[in-house]
Symmetry: C2
Subunit: 741 residues, 2 copies
């Protein structure tokens, strides 16, 4: 292997590139971390002290000596990213942020209390200096991989010709993970991909203390993790502070220089991510609880804390005891940050003057703006006999956007052809020559290949979105949104601009059968706070949906798209303004106040229209409402909502080829919900739609039943022909959710 100096944005004259100095004050500062961690958990009464105590030197090393960061500007573009995948050990990060002046001692004392800046797990947008919300184990590792990928794409987008280490967009990603992270499949998925992607800018420190909540991890975790990471293709280094499992004080050597050397040597390996196994004893040097599960997730207790403080030469009766000397010393990290920043700022200005176009692009993406000519870039689809699957329309939209939005990129979890996620002709992000160990500043392709790894894909998309300079999307089948649900939830919690492309969005996918046919997915995704779930009705709505999403910022979106071809509606019947409102009158009934409103999403909109035509032919004035996004509709003002769904019209039908759950909110007591509350079956889409009752005739029957009921002042019984929730799939009637009354 060829190892070349790895500056990656850091000049050799940078202070951090020198050998680590570790003075007596550093030792005292690290020991102070341990006492603070113990005190904070003790004060709150619950939390996770053990890892924060034993990992104090590692975190201190990163924040004080290794990482590029400027505490005066926690959003600095050039900063290294820190990811605490072992998020329960939030004190590991909070105390370093306190040392950096981003938190104060009172914040540490307020750990895990209402309104504090120090919640149980680190939360981005909540605590300055926290770049990622972590807690669900493994998620941090996977998201860190996404951040490292984002860094490479960003440098390719803004500064591709710079030599390695000479771009202002070069930065590194550091991640601390624990045993639990190593057990979670999502970390495995992402770690495998990280090696394929040769992410030399990623350093993962695995705190191997071999203690988790069920105590010794031996009961479930006997693998050789270092060998596994070698099998993935990482640069693997082992730092043994203890040489054997279960070791206690006498054999423990907290060798910070060894850890520092591993980090710095790992950074020199440009074509592989670095995996450092750091063998620690949890809660060391707590005298009786070190190395045990008791120190993992509970307060240590007064006696243990006092004994530890005595051992470390602290006054056992003092709590939250930080000497002026220590504080003055650690806060010097702000000067270090300022110095790092000064050099970077000069290079940034130089880059701006020599890269006017790239600088304009940077300014635009940071402002979350779209470029001139954006709206004109979207295709319009004319009706024809064949129709078009919305997934295919989505693919055409992405292709049309390739030149307009250079910040847009993405791919699929091994379903690119099915998801239509490849922007035509755009190169792959995979390293070009996978056999060469020399990394030459690329590649910068826009097409991502995630492999069959949906959850890692979601986390990686989040990591890219949170790096903030590019706009990522990731695709799979809607049913496999289940696999990536942890990532989708974290996208929502973090208000990340992640876009998830979920095709094959109903039983309409056909022959692949029940394991592949989403039923409950739309409802269960809508239940996630902050996630917009969008299901366009045709090719034109699909274009409008993309046009809308890409102008929005601050929360994730999932787009549900059909596998099967759908009729293309007259382009004049819809507009981006209407779609952006979440629901709109697509077809007006023959009376201003219709006899019945039929609302639908996605592939069922054309079924609703066909049903409405039959109803109108029978003299029933029928309004058809297309409702591509419930969340957007809920954000409209009352008068718009009343305009689309007037309260006076109580006869209502909804039709969606998915769970009925949630639709009662829209149809009311007198309404009828056409949905499917049982698993699908393997057959062609047309047969399934007929067999499971997604037909114009079902719309007609439901509309009549609702009209009959809405005339009845005592609503209640369901109309004949509507079965209750039925687990079998022989039923040819649409299942209706039991009302329970």
């Amino acid at each position: 292997m060829s190892i070349t100096p790895h500056a990656n944005g850091r000049q050799v004259s940078d202070p951090v590139a020198e050998q680590v100095g570790w003075s007596d004050v550093d030792v005292r500062a690290v020991d102070t971390v341990r006492t603070l961690a113990a005190d904070a958990v003790q004060k709150t009464g619950n939390g996770h002290p053990g890892t924060a105590i034993s990992l104090a030197p590692a975190a201190y090393l990163l924040y004080q000596k290794v990482m590029r960061h400027d505490p005066a500007d926690p959003h600095w573009l050039g900063r290294d990213r820190f990811v605490l995948s072992a998020g329960h050990s939030s004190l590991t990060q909070y105390i370093q942020l306190y040392y950096a002046g981003l938190l104060e001692l009172g914040d540490i004392e307020a750990l895990r209390t209402w309104g504090s800046k120090t919640p149980g797990h680190p939360e981005v947008h909540h605590t300055a200096g926290v770049d990622l919300t972590t807690g669900p184990l493994g998620s941090g590792v996977a998201t860190a991989v996404g951040m490292a990928m984002a860094q490479r794409r960003q440098r390719g987008l803004f500064d591709p010709e710079a030599a390695p280490g000479e771009s202002i967009f070069d930065h590194d990603v550091y991640c601390i993970a624990g045993d639990g992270c190593m057990m979670e499949g999502v970390a495995s998925e992402a770690s495998s991909l990280a090696a394929t992607q040769r992410l030399g800018n990623l350093t993962l420190i695995y705190d191997q203390n071999q203690i988790s909540i069920e105590d010794d991890t031996d009961v479930s975790f006997s693998e050789d993790v270092a060998a596994r990471y070698e099998a993935y293709g990482w640069d693997v280094r082992v730092v043994e502070w203890r040489t054997k499992h279960g070791v206690r004080d006498e054999d423990y050597v907290e060798d910070v220089d060894a850890l520092h050397a591993a980090i710095e040597e790992g950074r020199k390996v440009l074509d592989k991510p670095t995996f450092i196994v750091l063998r620690t004893v949890i809660a060391w040097p707590a005298p009786t609880k070190q190395g045990t599960g008791k120190s993992h997730g509970s307060a240590l207790g007064d006696d243990e804390i006092k004994a530890m403080k005595s051992l470390l030469g602290f006054d056992p009766d003092q709590t939250f005891d930080v000497s002026d000397e220590v504080l003055a010393h650690v806060r010097k990290v702000r000067d270090r940050g300022a110095e790092l920043r000064k050099g970077w700022d000069q290079r940034y200005e130089a880059w701006r003057s020599s890269h006017a176009e790239a600088a304009a692009l940077l300014d635009r993406v940071r402002a979350h703006e779209v470029p001139e000519g954006y709206a004109e870039a979207f295709p319009t689809f004319e009706p024809d006999d064949k129709g078009l699957a919305t997934r295919a329309a989505s693919g055409k939209v992405l292709g049309a956007l390739a030149d307009v939005l250079p910040e847009l990129w993405g791919g699929s979890a091994d379903l690119a052809e099915s998801n239509n996620t490849t922007m035509g002709g755009q190169p792959s992000f995979v390293p070009e020559d996978r056999q060469t160990s020399e990394w030459q500043g690329g590649p910068y392709g826009r097409t991502l290949h995630f492999g069959v790894r949906e959850n890692a894909m979601g986390m990686i998309v989040n990591g890219i979105a949170l790096e903030g300079l590019t706009r990522p999307y990731g695709g799979t089948f809607l049913v496999f949104s289940d696999y990536m649900r942890p990532a989708v939830r974290l996208a929502a919690i973090q208000e990340a601009d992640s876009i998830f492309v979920w095709t094959h969005d109903s039983i309409g996918l056909g022959e692949d059968g029940p394991t592949h046919q989403p039923i409950e997915q739309l409802a269960s995704l809508r239940a996630i706070p902050g996630l917009d779930v969008v299901r366009p009705a045709d090719a034109n709505e699909t274009a409008h949906v993309w046009q809308t999403i890409l102008t929005r910022h601050g929360n994730p979106t999932g787009i549900a798209l059909s596998r099967q071809a759908l009729p293309i509606l007259d382009p004049s019947s819809t507009s981006v303004e209407q779609v952006a409102k979440g629901a709109y009158v697509l077809v007006e009934g023959s009376k201003p106040t219709p006899d019945v409103i039929v609302m639908a999403t996605g592939s069922e909109v054309s079924v609703a229209i066909a049903g409405a035509e039959q109803l109108e032919a029978q003299g029933v004035a029928t309004r058809v409402v297309s409702m591509p996004c419930q969340e957007w509709f809920a954000q409209q003002d009352e008068s718009y909502r009343e305009q689309v769904l007037p309260k006076a019209v109580k006869a209502r039908v909804s039709i969606e080829a998915g769970s009925t759950m949630g639709w009662r909110d829209y149809v009311g007591d007198a309404g009828r919900v056409i949905g499917i509350d049982h698993f699908g079956a393997s057959a062609d889409a047309k047969t399934l739609f007929t067999e499971f009752g997604f037909t114009p005739e079902a719309v007609v029957d439901a509309a009549k039943a609702s009209i009959a009921e809405s005339g009845d002042p005592t609503p209640g019984d369901t109309a004949p022909g509507y079965a209750s929730k039925d687990p079998g799939f022989e039923s040819s009637a649409p299942a209706e959710r039991q009302e329970g009354k």
Copy 2:
């Protein structure tokens, strides 16, 4: 390592233990598989022919020469299990089942059509001979691990003293997986645990063809999979039918003896699961599409199929061409099965006579019955000042059942102490001496340690449930049901008796904050067809819930339990019969027809009671309905449901510390839903309940608003004080789902 002969239920005189014989008719039969696979996909127009073609010899070897199975009785207790983790290649299994006489040629021709026995992916309970529903990649691998664990526990339960290989309960699990399975995290999780558990009865054949939907897997999957499995601790063997990637005809050696030898040698390693890397060329010997993504998921096309048939010496113009000679030959596998069965039946009878107690237990569990004294085993909890968390009550129930239900076992994904999933004093299932390579027929402990691997846990629990002789449960936090959602869905699709214990079931978990606080989980789990979601209100309801679940059979259940202590209700106010009905009148109002009904689940039931007391004090007759399980309630007849929730009472309030989604079905247009549609926060539970509006006062306000509205003939506007869906968490008012009208 010590390698000893591994008979595992098979006598050396068994025909299958001899060296594999591979006659010309076998070769012809295998080639016939290839033509059938190509024809079936071509006829349907879609499907996955490639792997079924190239893997034909491996599947044929297993079904015809290796596995113990009796086609005359596909449910034979002593059969080896076959898991097609690469479920898209369903023809791999279907054609072998046709050869075994469990399907006929017409079934192969009817592939992927409505009502056929040959759906797109294999489905248990649908096609005789299919033991597992697969399709979502990786799930088969993880579930196979569960089956192998079940086998060991079953032998320990029914026949612990038998020497290895001499018990009728000994059988092996064979699994075929593809590249996609190897990428999925769930397979990684389970494979790591399989090595810790030393599952010598598991053989995983990895069909490494390095082609997936995005063509060459190199774009996302460059790791050394064999080395990874060695790192886990598996017995790893490589069978190279091709020696290099991208090899074509001339270098391909389909060496069946080598595969057979790897399987048989692997079976001799008793203390490790066996991983066989089988390097194949997808769709070999199709002349132009072999080794390409084009053969993976699409019909090959007439020309390609004809060319392949010519190459193989078949008439290119014939389809579904099976010679009488081939059919007669392959159907002899039924005689082989009968012979295997004969020996087993004798040993089974001998076992019954010498193991009367175990035989009675076997009969009971196979009949899905509970023992005498079952109901009496459950504890009753008396009210006290401290109350009890329902998770703690659940732990006490499990402890009480340890002796009564020996078939019950389970554990947690590294949260045993938090989930209270350990039956007091029950030994671990972990091999006792993890350093010894000799496997001596055990261990048989009942406490499972899954590690931090929720999805694998779910799949493993499913595998245990589907083996059928024991009753498994697995626990984690409710919020992490997200991680195991793929497994939960497969449990429901497969109607498996899996039990999921989900504790920390609301914001009431407190300080761990939003990443750990479930919001949308209850609603989104209820949306899964066939899953019963149960949330008991107190310790006694918890006992009743367990008592109910364990008498039920045919679908999975999830139990949501509180972290925080809850008041214990008067035991006489509830009963197992009432709880089993899903909802019941817990507190009757002061009038026979109450002014308002307040319904609640879990920890909010006591809030509802407190609210009702305030309402009654103000003269409002208030009924409190405890609704532990919506699914059970929906199964009751109309008259019972009317009795609990009379249509005439339109003033209704629901309160549940989770998403409001779905509750409109129960409260109707005039009702009020108290829930939370935004993420939580890090603070103590009491603060959160107050800040987020889960208080008796909120119940009172909501009840009054609903009474006011239900008297109004024009329902519509929400009452003042009820905010619309609000992403922030400052709101002190309960969020109410926007009605959209």
